[in-house]
């Protein structure tokens, strides 16, 4: 049986890891960009400021030296215009410098004296007055209707006039916009690429893990010899496979030791019993009809019972350690139950019990026939031993999607209260029971070894119900294994 499930992609670890990895990567890149942006913006402003300060100084000098007169306005305007043409960010000259630079001269009382620029001079004047611009400390001012803020530097002339030179932040903004756009495109590409790389690397690696999981899931009680695929290299996945396989080695060893112990226990106990039984039998075959036959025969019966108890104990012990040995082949439960019913019907009738079997179509399970036979025999024996005359036993075989249920019901006295809660435990039996107390423990062990489930309960009215649920074999596994359930004749 495999636990491999086709999970939706969003639930795979590869997807989650890629998502978190990419998010962390993107966040890191954004933080890096913010620093870079801050630095570039600061640098651009520093250059603009130094240009503005230098230029306003020059203009101040020119204005200072130009005599006040008719030509003053023209000379200063031209110098100012010339100056505005060599704006900073020299590598890409502004296309319309007149629009990006203004020159303003006010007299000591703050009235406009000279203006060079495309903007609304009154608005500029107002904005300049709103801020106290100290010489050598350029500031940003906002001018209504302008595309961007202006950086304005000032200088005070000896006659009290103040000269302002403003530089539009448009260029600076454009540079930063370009920077942001490039960053965005490149960053998006890198993040996407990173995501794909992380996703496919993780997926590939976790694919190994998935294969290990799938293989490990198929290693059950009956198949301890398989190992998970070991991958090349010495990374974590390779180590996981290696460690898992070494663990399986140890488990297999432990189970093998258990088998060795139970085998030698069985051998050491059964060999003397065999010898004793053989002698008793030989004695019995020789002693015809005289008084010795009866005790000898019952001694043989007792020995057989002892052996059956031993076998069951060892099997239940092995099953408890999930180490029951299975030799699986297709078993037709329908046929098996029919045979069982035929076998038990006379004995049941003898004891005044009635037996009905309801089963319609063949139900094939992949199981160990010998264990399944003994399991069913235990159930039937149990009914035969514990039901008072006049009761009836109903067996029902139902098959549903991928599973089948065997229901065994009777209308007898039910399980005694003292054992009802732990009916499948070893040596659990009612005070009136003459059995070994291993029957149902063995049944449960067999069902569990076949990855099935079993429930037993007292029916509300009267009697008991035992439900055994087993997995049906898939058509594929039927086709691959030959249906050999023939029995060799003597």
């Amino acid at each position: 049986m495999s636990y491999a499930i086709n999970r939706p992609r969003v639930k795979t670890a590869a997807w989650r890891i890629s998502l978190w990895g990419t998010a962390a990567f993107a966040a890191g890149t954004i933080i890096l960009f913010l620093f870079l942006h801050q630095f570039v913006a600061h640098e651009i402003q520093r250059r603009a400021d130094s240009w503005l300060t230098g230029e306003v100084g020059t203009l101040g000098d020119v204005a200072e030296k130009t005599p006040q007169g008719v030509l003053y306005d023209r000379i200063v305007s031209e110098v100012a215009e010339l100056a505005t043409k060599e704006v900073p960010h020299g590598h890409e000259p502004a296309k319309d410098p007149n629009r990006s630079v203004f020159f303003l001269q006010t007299n000591s009382s703050g009235h406009l004296k000279l203006w060079v620029g495309e903007q609304n001079k009154n608005a500029v004047l107002q904005a300049v007055h709103a801020k106290n611009i100290l010489p050598g400390h350029p500031v940003d001012i906002h001018i209504p209707d302008a595309f961007s803020d202006f950086r304005v530097a000032s200088t005070r002339m000896n006659n009290g006039d103040v000269i302002y030179l403003g530089l539009s932040g448009r260029e600076e903004n454009r540079t930063l916009d370009t920077l942001r756009l490039y960053f965005f495109i490149i960053c998006l590409g890198i993040v996407l690429l990173g995501f794909l790389i992380i996703f496919f690397t993780t997926k590939r690696m976790l694919g190994h893990v998935q294969r290990i999981t799938d293989t490990a899931a198929t290693i059950g009680h009956d198949d301890l010899r398989s190992r998970v695929p070991e991958v090349e290299g010495n990374d974590e996945v390779a180590q996981l496979a290696f460690t898992l396989n070494r663990m399986l080695d140890r488990v297999e060893n432990t189970v093998r030791q258990l088998h060795t112990i139970t085998d030698s226990l069985a051998h050491d106990l059964r060999s003397p019993i065999t010898a004793v039984r053989g002698r008793l039998e030989a004695a019995l075959l020789r002693t015809d009809e005289d008084g010795w036959a009866e005790p000898v025969a019952s001694a043989i019966d007792e020995l057989d019972r002892l052996c059956e108890f031993l076998t069951k104990s060892l099997d239940v012990a092995e099953a408890g350690a999930d180490a029951l040995r299975l030799q699986k082949e297709p078993v037709n439960l329908d046929e098996l139950l029919q045979t069982m019913a035929h076998l038990y019907e006379p004995s049941m009738a003898e004891r005044g019990l009635s037996l009905t079997l309801r089963s319609s179509s063949p139900v094939i399970v992949d199981a160990d026939p010998s264990l399944i036979h003994r399991m069913m025999m235990n159930l039937f024996d149990n009914e035969l031993k514990h039901l008072p005359p006049g009761c009836s036993v109903h067996i029902r075989l139902q098959s549903e999607d991928g599973h089948c249920n065997i229901f065994l019901e009777d209308n007898g006295p039910g399980f005694p209260d003292e054992v009802a809660a732990h009916i499948f435990e070893k040596y659990a039996k009612g005070s009136q029971s003459a059995g070994s107390g291993l029957g149902l423990a063995f049944v449960e062990a067999v069902v569990r070894a076949h990855n099935g489930s079993i429930e037993a309960s007292n029916l509300p009215s009267r009697g008991i119900q035992i439900r055994i649920r087993l997995q049906r074999s898939s058509p594929a596994s039927l086709a691959s294994s030959p249906a050999t359930s023939s029995h060799t004749g003597v």
Partner: protein, 225 residues
């Protein structure tokens, strides 16, 4: 007929030796794998009875090695475990057989006979079985005693057929279960006895001598003389 018995338990091997020689076989005993191997390669044995739990080697390993070296006699494996190793089943498919301890002597003898016969000639193909005044027509699935038809169910017929085929020999309950119901199990209850009881009520008649005899603790025998 010479047999090789490989069994480490002294009491068991002595018992086997005696029982088998009483039934007309010649026995060589080996108490460990090394002796067994030497004997097997030298002697000419009709069959081998092998206990799986040997002190010096696993019985199956020994038999696999012997077979690889060209040893061809059939092997009857004695195992202490009911859940037998799948390798044993492999051997069973190869013509060998196994028996779980403790076994009934008649069963051991029956299986041994079967192994030897399987090796020699195909089994009896006749369609009519006759034991004294009992007659079974295997084709028409009809049985009669002293000319009078018996009304038997399918299972009763199969049971009687098995007894007839082994007439004069003791058959055990587990042999019956395996042959008639196809189950290699040992029931806790008297299920087989009840079937025999029912069969008896149809076969036996007050005016005729008893045919089916019970040997308590062992099994049943169909009288053939």
């Amino acid at each position: 007929m010479k047999l090789l018995v490989i069994e480490d338990d002294l009491a068991n091997s002595k018992f086997l030796e005696r029982a088998l020689s009483e039934n007309g076989y010649t026995i060589d005993l080996a108490h460990n794998a090394a002796t067994a191997e030497r004997l097997a390669m030298d002697g000419d044995y009709a069959a081998v009875i092998l206990d799986l739990g040997l002190p010096d080697e696993d019985g199956l390993t020994l038999i696999t090695r012997l077979k690889a070296r060209g040893f061809s006699a059939p092997v009857l494996i004695l195992s202490a475990r009911r859940a037998v190793d799948d390798r044993v089943r492999g051997l069973e498919q190869g013509g060998d057989d196994y028996l779980v301890k403790p076994y009934a002597l008649p069963e051991l003898l029956a299986r041994l006979r079967n192994l030897l016969r399987r090796n020699a000639s195909p089994s009896d193909q006749s369609t009519v079985l006759r034991v004294l005044d009992l007659e079974l027509n295997l084709l028409r699935r009809e049985a009669s005693r002293a000319g009078e038809t018996l009304q038997l169910t399918t299972q009763e017929f199969a049971l009687l057929e098995f007894l007839c085929r082994n007439s004069g020999r003791v058959v055990t309950r587990s042999m019956i279960l395996q042959q008639v119901w196809g189950m290699r199990i040992q029931p806790d209850t008297n299920v087989v006895d009840v079937h025999i009881y029912r069969l008896r009520s149809k076969v036996e008649r007050p005016d005729l001598p008893t045919m089916i005899r019970t040997i308590r603790g062992v099994g049943y025998v169909l009288r053939d003389k």
